[in-house]
Amino acid sequence: MVKQITVLSGKGGTGKTSLVGSLAALTKKTVMTDCDVDAPDLHLLLKPEILQTQEFKASRVAVMDEEKCIQCGKCEELCRFNAIEKLVIDPILCEGCGVCAYVCPVEAIELRERVSGYAFISRTKYGPMSHARLNPGEENSGKLVSLVRQNAKKIAETENCELIINDGPPGIGCPVIAAVGGVDIGLIVVEPSLSGIHDMERALGLLIHFKIPSLVCVNKYDINEENTDRIVEFCRSNSVEVVGKIPFDTLVTEAMVAGKSIVDYSPKSRVSEAIAELWKRTLENI
């Protein structure tokens, strides 16, 4: 059975992708995915060569034929999304439910499929990668995340990979739920700030809600060691293992500017050593 790990954080910008980029360099027989489909960044480090592109069609939008419209106003009255105002459909607010087209007595409204994004299957120097790009402002990021994960599973089976590492999206809503469903471990990356701790608690709550084994690692732990201690204490009292503490180092940004993971850019740095150590402890939990 292929094992799966999702790296998540609740809060954006805590260093998930920098960590996942490093894990790609540390592992073999692994499929990497970027489940942050509406703001993906992992490809900036892994530089994938795209082998296959799939259109992702998951939503519809209502389009009105003004010539047919008899201005009865039924559509506007029944649209729950306030997407119709003065008989003009706002495609941004439209959620494609189809109620307007159903109630229109003269068939003046039609629902058109829209391409919401693209899924990609790629090759990187570290191995296969499954990723995607949601079109700006689109819905259904959760469904696209599911597609990315399905693709990853298929690749893992055909290429005999043992592990899938998912770079998760921020937040705790639908794309995150899609990114953690059924994984073997959720690894939360937290920064030692009060807001970071708050967001970690909610992300942990989500993993517990879905009964997913959780691990925590603290990034930039030395920015505020008092808060780091609070995180460690909080995890201990909730029986969650803290698998590592990564120090703050400007080398991480330097590596990003160079388009590399820190483990590739500076393998002997304290950050790289901390990542190797936390990865070892993570694997002991699988």
Partner: protein, 258 residues
């Protein structure tokens, strides 16, 4: 920003991970539950024709030969299933998806939403937060990350967007796609560079090329990072920044000629 301006209402629309209240420590005077509708099927009236599940664009209903399954967390509450049901077997019930809280901190009125953990859909809650908007105030909205529907719901109908970007490759990439969303929405925008001094100059070059005004640079500073980590807005401890935030608003107002 909210603490630097006068007559401000702050709406935290990052309902998945709201943080404004951690920095502002408001006194909360009202907590309201937010509900969303979902269908309930009368087994007595239903004849399992399947029209509702066929209509539902979100796969929230599944009709088997002798039973109907409803998945409330997939439902967008459009009401379509009840409309198409030939037997009038569908009614709608409400369930709670989160809360919104109203409070006040240092003269700033603050409203934020908190999505229940395990709940997938943030947009209905974001809409409720935005309904609390007061037209006689300068309204500052804290938007969620990303470029999907939650972001769109948060910024929709805004007069101006301030994009906070880090001068790094990740920052540049995320900035570019967010700019695309705002262009599609027709919302004017400017950029604040956070942690200026790290990374490279590409965000600056991009803004210049795209003619996106640079509103402010906040340097990378250990002091600011440390204050943030303790939950203290740096403009409180470093009041010279308040003027700089006020100037942002002046710049925006001059550009927009309201």
């Amino acid at each position: 920003m909210a603490l630097s301006l006068e007559n401000v209402q702050l709406l935290d629309c990052d309902v998945e991970e709201p943080n404004s209240h951690i920095l502002l420590q408001p006194r909360i005077h009202e907590t309201k539950p937010v509900y969303t509708k979902f269908p309930v099927i009368s087994e007595e009236l239903c004849d399992y024709c399947g029209k509702c599940s066929k209509f539902c664009a979100y796969n929230a209903l599944f009709v088997a030969p002798k039973t109907v399954m409803v998945f409330p967390e997939l439902c967008h509450s459009c009401g379509g299933c009840a409309l198409v049901c030939p037997k009038n077997a569908i009614t709608e019930k409400e369930r709670q998806i989160g809360v919104i809280k109203n409070g006040e901190a240092k003269g700033v009125e603050i409203v934020y939403g908190e999505l229940n953990v395990g709940e997938a859909m943030a947009v209905p809650l974001i809409r409720e937060v935005k309904k609390q908007m007061k037209n006689n105030k300068t309204v500052v909205i804290d938007a969620p990350p990303g470029t999907a529907c939650s972001l769109v719901a948060s910024v929709h109908n805004s007069d101006y967007c301030i994009l906070v970007a880090e001068p790094t490759p990740f920052g540049l990439h995320d900035l570019k796609i967010t700019v695309q969303v705002l262009k599609d929405l027709g919302i004017p925008m400017g950029v604040v560079i956070n942690r200026a001094g790290i990374g490279d100059r590409k965000v600056y070059e991009y803004c210049k090329k795209e003619k996106i005004p640079l509103l402010l640079e906040i340097p990378f500073s250990k002091q600011i990072a440390e204050l943030y980590s303790r939950g203290i807005p740096f403009a409180v401890e470093m009041p010279e920044w308040k003027k700089k935030f006020q100037k942002i608003l002046d710049k925006i107002e001059r550009r927009r000629e309201w």
